[in-house]
């Protein structure tokens, strides 16, 4: 496969925030990511798409060093966020994950109240008093478009919420600690169409304040919510461009074949 030279200017209209530089990742002897270089813009939604095993979720987890938690992982190259290499030895990984929040495929609220789920990270990271906490919890739930549905039962268990509400709660929990970047790994794949639509609308609202990188298997979801799309195949970045370009006139045949459902 020819090596891809990714133009730096692809984040047009938005300042570059994340620079992935010649990144390769090995799980033991197997190479899951092969020399990926990519620049992602600030306050835009970038979608990672590609068939299972293409490395998109692995790359997403490189952006807040979640792969550090997996044994036998070796990384070459680097990732800079705001100009700082997040893999340098002096980086505090806890601080990094405050800046780069994450929402997973399966909603994973703590077995605590709705309020405590959102307040949990704040209590860990800063010592705010109750009125401050109340304010941030409300604001975060409002930003996650959940406030109106839960304001009368903030102290009920989060596990009583529907799947879609639990996922929005996880988004509220992620934004409560004011990250710059939110990583989302198939955040709507377990939800019904209505709950999916709410998550998609929420993502479009959140990009006003946050930089969002999302992994999705749903082509139309990528088309609906993202500004830029990166297509991966067997650990390689095949094509990166504006989402409109990727979905109307991709440069590579492989991209066209994937987005039109011919393989993958």
């Amino acid at each position: 496969m020819p090596k891809l030279n990714v133009p730096e200017a692809k984040t047009s209209g938005s300042a570059a925030l994340i620079h992935i530089e010649a990144l390769s990742l090995h799980y033991g002897a197997s190479k899951a990511l092969k020399d990926i270089s990519l620049t992602l813009g600030e306050r835009v939604v970038t979608a990672f798409i590609g068939p299972s095993g293409c490395g998109k979720s692995t790359l997403l987890r490189c952006l807040n060093r979640m792969n550090d938690l997996i044994d036998n992982v070796r990384i070459e190259g680097g990732v800079k966020i705001g100009g700082h290499n997040i893999y340098s030895s002096d980086v505090d990984v806890i601080e990094l994950r405050k800046r780069v929040g994450m929402v997973f495929q399966k909603s994973n609220p703590f077995p605590k109240s709705i309020y405590e789920n959102v307040a949990y990270g704040l209590r860990l990271h800063s010592s705010q008093n109750k009125s401050e906490l109340d304010g941030v919890v409300e604001q975060s739930l409002r930003s996650a478009a959940l406030w109106d549905e839960v304001k009368d039962r903030l102290h009920s268990s989060a596990l009583g919420l529907s799947g879609g509400q639990q996922q929005r709660l996880c988004i509220a929990r992620a934004i409560a600690i004011k990250p710059e970047i939110i990583l989302m790994d198939e955040p709507a794949s377990a939800l019904d169409p209505l709950a999916t639509a709410r998550i998609e609308e929420l993502i479009l609202e959140l990009k006003k304040d946050f930089t969002i990188v999302i992994v999705t298997h749903n082509m139309q979801q990528a088309a609906r919510i993202s500004d830029f799309t990166a297509f991966f195949y067997i650990g390689e970045l095949i094509e990166f461009d504006s989402t409109t370009k990727i979905f109307t006139n991709p440069a590579k045949k492989q991209t066209e074949d994937y987005v039109t459902g011919r393989f993958g």
Binding site: A145, R198, E201, L202, L204, E205, M219, Q220, A223, R224, T243, T244, F247, T248
Partner: protein, 218 residues
Amino acid sequence: MENHFEMGLDALRQKILLMASRAETAVNQSVQALVQRDYDLAVRVREDDNIIDQFEVDIDEMAIVLLTKAPLASNLRLITVAMKVSQNLERIGDEATKIAKRARDLAQEPPVKINFDVNRMAAMSLAMVKDALDSFVHRDSAAARAIIPRDREVDALNKEIHQQLAQHMTENPDTIGRCLHWIVAAKSLERIADHAKNIAEEVVYLCEAQDIRHTLKN
């Protein structure tokens, strides 16, 4: 929370309405230039046609982007209908340009002394365009269906004017060149009514999901 897809559809509707307003103005002005022998106005209508053409390009681009988001049911119909409405509006703009070209040439020659009702024909075609667009805006299927038979009235009037002009040319061979200009202008008005009918048929499809093209003998 705002619905971003709906916002995209609204922007598409707004763009269609702006284009429609341009196209209606072009037809109005071309007829005015023809009837009032206004050379400058005729030239201006021709120059403005590229604005209408650009609307068609922009609307197609907006529609294609919306289609990538996998719209369904009435939203899907709205986007495909918007593309067809814009194509018909672009052609209405082209017909206005043709009328303006004849108006420009006729303004430089002596008037033809013949009474035929081009104003009435223009008014009928324009009313059809306006009503077709209103039915699109209000998603009014009944109003759209009511427009379709009116095309026959315009066709009949065009035929009448054509016969009058043919008769006049036979009797006054020195006016053949000018009468041919008028025949072409009247034909353009008749085509404008056809495009209005096409738009009305698209509105019926939009509202009822029923394709009535080529099913009614008008």
